[in-house]
Subunit: 287 residues, 2 copies
């Protein structure tokens, strides 16, 4: 079985990003000192998204409000303020197309983390307000002592294959002629393979076997972990769930290759390069 | 690449469990009617865990307080009340050893779901109390309209291999001589492969390459999604993080085979069969 890192195309937002230095998070005095050091930098934001330089790198300024300790990059401690964030993926696709690959994991971490703080200022256990602890990597309730950690929501996203064709679908909010891989949140009490089978059955009415993992990607809108899979469909008869999908269709290898080549008269418009659905399609074509 | 379902040993708690019938969840009238139907059954609990029959099946009674709609099994709608749950994995291992494999995913779903409700009665966004909606699959805030879904927390758990030996570690709370796979929560902004590399570096000081997915398992203490991986360690020199591990060591194939055989004088006591760490070891031995 080839390891994923041997394959040519890694998903966007994957890779180590920076040194998270998690052992430092609980040391408040050390973090205060780091924030005062001359090397400290704070992420700059604009319109609810991290600001980029003209070269597509994350843009850093002085540590004026270092609420979140992101970690170290180039021996410099990196911080962020908690920013009001309402941006969705659609309005961020343009920026993501410019973003340097090496900075993408940090972009994702900062965006998910700051958004989580904005939506989790109170204790889910007792309703009391909570305070930032661990350099911004959790929140603590002074009333009931519950500690709350940032959410990471696993999502399965998958290509179902039947006789050499792939199943792709359209959600109502997609741009015209865009088709992409079907996806859905993993629920409690199921593993990845069971979630893939359930989602394909719910959304497209197909039964699948031989589910296999392909690649994964953090997706910061707001804090998904996209787990990309492949599955064999037992038949090609579809029953579409209209509440989830506007349409779903089987596409041939030729149609997919043509669409990924960027041809204007392709059968569909593929997902953007920052989406793991695109990675799944490109790897399938290369396989 | 062989699909995981071809391999002999699936992790405990994996498999489809029951038909979740998620399209019904938003239909309150339909759920009320289902709960009144003669076929309706409610999960019975005892001491914070689902109650088992002498045959190891989940035990069901009349729907006296059908707060959570779990789905359908054998054409019977299945419900649960929200139970006070404080049980940890250690006190549940005995019960899990008796639990029927086919009922295990539902056991996990019911346990995670009821525990989540117990700890999430208030809105993290505004502090107001929330109400059960979608048959228990989310909670809605009447004050700010935020909807909150049950957490599923992805955890990577991995075998690092170096020259035919595997790295296993001991946490301080383990039973005597127990060693198991290293593990840690996936954080925002990282994918599964990056999380595996970070955790092994943090906890054991090793660098790894060729991370690959092996299998996954829901783990209801309280609501983890365990993602089992394998990685190649670039060296065998260890720097143990004493805050996470009491000890970590490399074990030979012979030592592991002997330990899994249940020998009393084995080099270590392996994790129980319900833990995916055991699956990872058994699959590695079989590979």
């Amino acid at each position: 079985m080839p390891a994923m890192t041997d394959l040519p195309l890694d998903p966007f937002f994957s890779g180590p990003g920076l040194d998270r230095a998690d052992a430092l998070r609980a040391d408040e005095a050390a973090l205060r000192e780091l924030a005062r050091s001359p090397a400290a930098r704070q992420l700059r934001w604009s319109d609810g998204l991290p600001l980029l330089t003209p070269e597509g790198r994350l843009d850093w300024g002085p540590p004026l409000q270092p609420q979140l300790f992101l970690g170290f990059a180039d021996e410099s401690p990196r911080f962020s303020a908690i920013e009001p964030v309402t941006t969705d993926a659609r309005s961020a696709f343009g920026l993501m197309a410019l973003l340097d690959l090496g900075d993408a994991p940090l972009f994702a971490a900062a965006l998910s983390l700051t958004r989580w703080h904005g939506r989790h200022r109170f204790c889910a256990n007792c309703g009391h307000s909570t305070a930032i602890v661990r350099g911004g990597w959790s929140r603590l309730c002074a009333a009931c002592s519950a500690e709350h950690f940032p959410r990471v929501d696993p999502v399965v996203i998958m290509l179902a294959e039947n006789e050499g064709r792939l199943l792709l679908g359209r959600q109502p909010h997609y741009p015209p002629s865009r088709y992409s891989a079907l996806a859905g949140f993993v629920e409690v009490g199921e593993n990845l393979e069971a979630a893939v089978a359930r989602e394909l059955h719910e959304e497209a009415g197909i039964k699948v076997r031989n589910v296999r993992y392909v690649a994964s990607q953090p997706w910061p809108f707001p804090s998904s972990l996209m787990v990309g899979c492949h599955a064999e469909a037992e038949s090609d008869e579809l029953t579409i769930d209209a509440a989830e999908l506007e349409e779903a269709r089987w596409f041939t290898r030729e149609e997919i290759a043509f669409a990924l080549s960027g041809a204007a008269d392709a059968a569909f418009q593929p997902p953007p390069k920052s989406a793991i659905a695109r990675t799944l399609l490109e790897r399938w074509l290369a396989s």
